[in-house]
């Protein structure tokens, strides 16, 4: 190659421009090419997390997909802006509520599976984006999550009270409690607050109301969805005619 003056202004600007264009093109092409795979992975991971809350952990990819499709359906209540999952485990109905909150360094989230009584926890799964490994990161472990099974989130009067997450050995008045992670007080409190505030929205919408009322409301929600679908079907032909 002929000796070029690599220190001239023109060469420097041209070099920077070409480099940036090449890198930008490369990244754009790769990002677009990989996007469907990444989205499929994220969707599959969500399904695995939901299955983990049903105590079906460490399943392979194909098995997870199949089990999820067999057992779980998503239910949306558009009127109240909430959605949850319903699972059918050998004839037993489970409700799975998604929860979201804040840990120490970043977001935390999870899924709480409830028995058909909408009170007793069947299983729980929590995950985090950037909690400290070995401290707050422990909320992702089965050891922490398995404590939640069998706890109740309603008090004796059927009011939603959530769970207390306390130092090992302590107990709370009028509330079920699980052991916090030592050394990770803020993340543990974050899980407690997350469960309280996320599920409070369901409580406010009457999700935990008297069993019969709840069923009626649920029926109304389902009907509301159907009515909307019908309306849309009716509207479309008119539009095409115009």
């Amino acid at each position: 190659m002929a000796k070029m003056n690599t220190n001239s202004n023109v060469y420097t600007i041209a070099y920077a421009t070409v480099l940036v264009i090449i890198v930008a093109l490369l990244l754009a092409v790769v990002a677009n090419a990989l996007l469907p795979r990444q989205e499929a992975n994220v969707a599959l991971d969500t399904k695995k997390q939901i299955l983990a809350s049903l105590n079906e952990r460490n399943l392979g990819n194909a098995v997870s997909e199949q089990t999820y499709n067999e057992q779980v359906t998503e239910v949306t209540c558009e009127k109240c802006g909430l959605s949850w999952y319903e699972a059918n485990l050998d004839g037993e109905k489970k409700y799975i509520l998604p929860v979201k909150g804040a840990g120490l360094w970043g977001g935390i989230w999870g899924y709480i599976a409830l028995n058909a009584d909408r009170n007793t926890i069947y299983g729980a799964y929590f995950d985090h984006s950037s909690e400290t490994p070995g401290l707050g990161g422990e909320i992702k472990t089965e050891k922490f999550q398995s404590q939640f099974a069998g706890k109740h989130i309603l008090d004796a009067e059927g009011q939603f009270v959530g769970l207390a997450i306390l130092k090992a050995g302590q107990s709370a008045e009028g509330q079920d409690a699980v052991d916090a992670i030592s050394g990770a007080t803020i993340t543990s409190k974050g899980v407690q607050t997350m469960i309280l505030t996320s599920i409070q929205a369901y409580a406010a919408a009457g999700w935990f109301g008297q069993a019969e009322v709840a069923v009626e409301e649920e029926l109304e929600w389902h009907q509301a969805e159907k009515v909307e679908e019908e309306v849309i079907e009716n509207v479309e032909p008119e539009l095409t005619e115009e």
């Binding site: 480099l19 990444q38 984006s129």
Partner: protein
């Protein structure tokens, strides 16, 4: 394949006499962040090794064309692009690993070892030597992280690679006599352990002074 003295030194030097962490004291920031447990430390070590080796090769191949006034920016662009690519590929093909790495993969861009090797080695050596230099520095970084993480996880959590080593029944909470050392999971302890590794390493290599 016979390697020349210089090539061998490019690979073996950073493992011991010219270690990026214990001798040059680079990359300390990430050594503090990822060494609470052994597994993230090893994964971080592997990721850094791959990226420093690739960046070294790319910069070494381009070294005669890079305008010297913007060379740091060019190096940064190459490193940032590689990190973004590796991150995208991990997310698409090995999602579990990408979840395990979470924030650390982004932290690689700020790892001083990368810029240090690009500026000090790849800018003035051929691609083959630069590749070995990158691998050597990556492994040199990894073993120090592994030693620190081994001690911190064993004494801080009583486990290794997430597997329990110290039996549950030993713990005070279960009526035993043992308690985890809370200091070990604090970042300050990583600094003290890195210092201990440096101390031992210097004592062993005293004749070099």
């Amino acid at each position: 394949m016979a390697l020349s003295e210089k090539t061998r030194e490019a690979f073996l030097g950073p493992l011991n006499k010219n270690n990026p962490v214990v001798v040059q004291v680079l990359g300390i920031c990430s050594a503090l962040a990822v060494t609470v447990q052994l597994k993230p430390a090893l994964v971080m070590g592997i990721a850094v090794t791959i990226i420093v080796a690739l960046a070294n090769v790319v910069i070494s191949a381009l070294r005669n064309t890079i305008p010297s006034r913007i060379r740091i920016i060019v190096q940064l662009v190459v490193v940032a692009a590689l990190v973004t690519l590796v991150s995208a590929f991990l997310k698409a093909f090995v999602y579990d690993v990408s979840v395990a790495l979470s924030v650390y993969i982004g932290l690689i861009i700020t790892n001083c070892i990368l810029m240090g090797r690009l500026e000090a080695y790849a800018m003035s050596n051929g691609p083959w030597d630069s590749l070995l230099d990158g691998l050597g520095n990556g492994f040199g970084y990894m073993w120090v992280l592994a030693v620190v993480a081994f001690v911190r996880e064993l004494f801080g959590s009583g486990s290794l690679m997430g597997l329990r080593i110290i039996p549950e029944s030993w713990y005070v909470a279960n009526g035993g006599f043992y308690e985890n050392c809370g200091m070990m999971v604090m970042p300050a302890m990583a600094l003290i352990l890195v210092a201990c590794v440096i101390w031992v390493h210097r004592s062993l290599n005293k004749e070099d002074k």
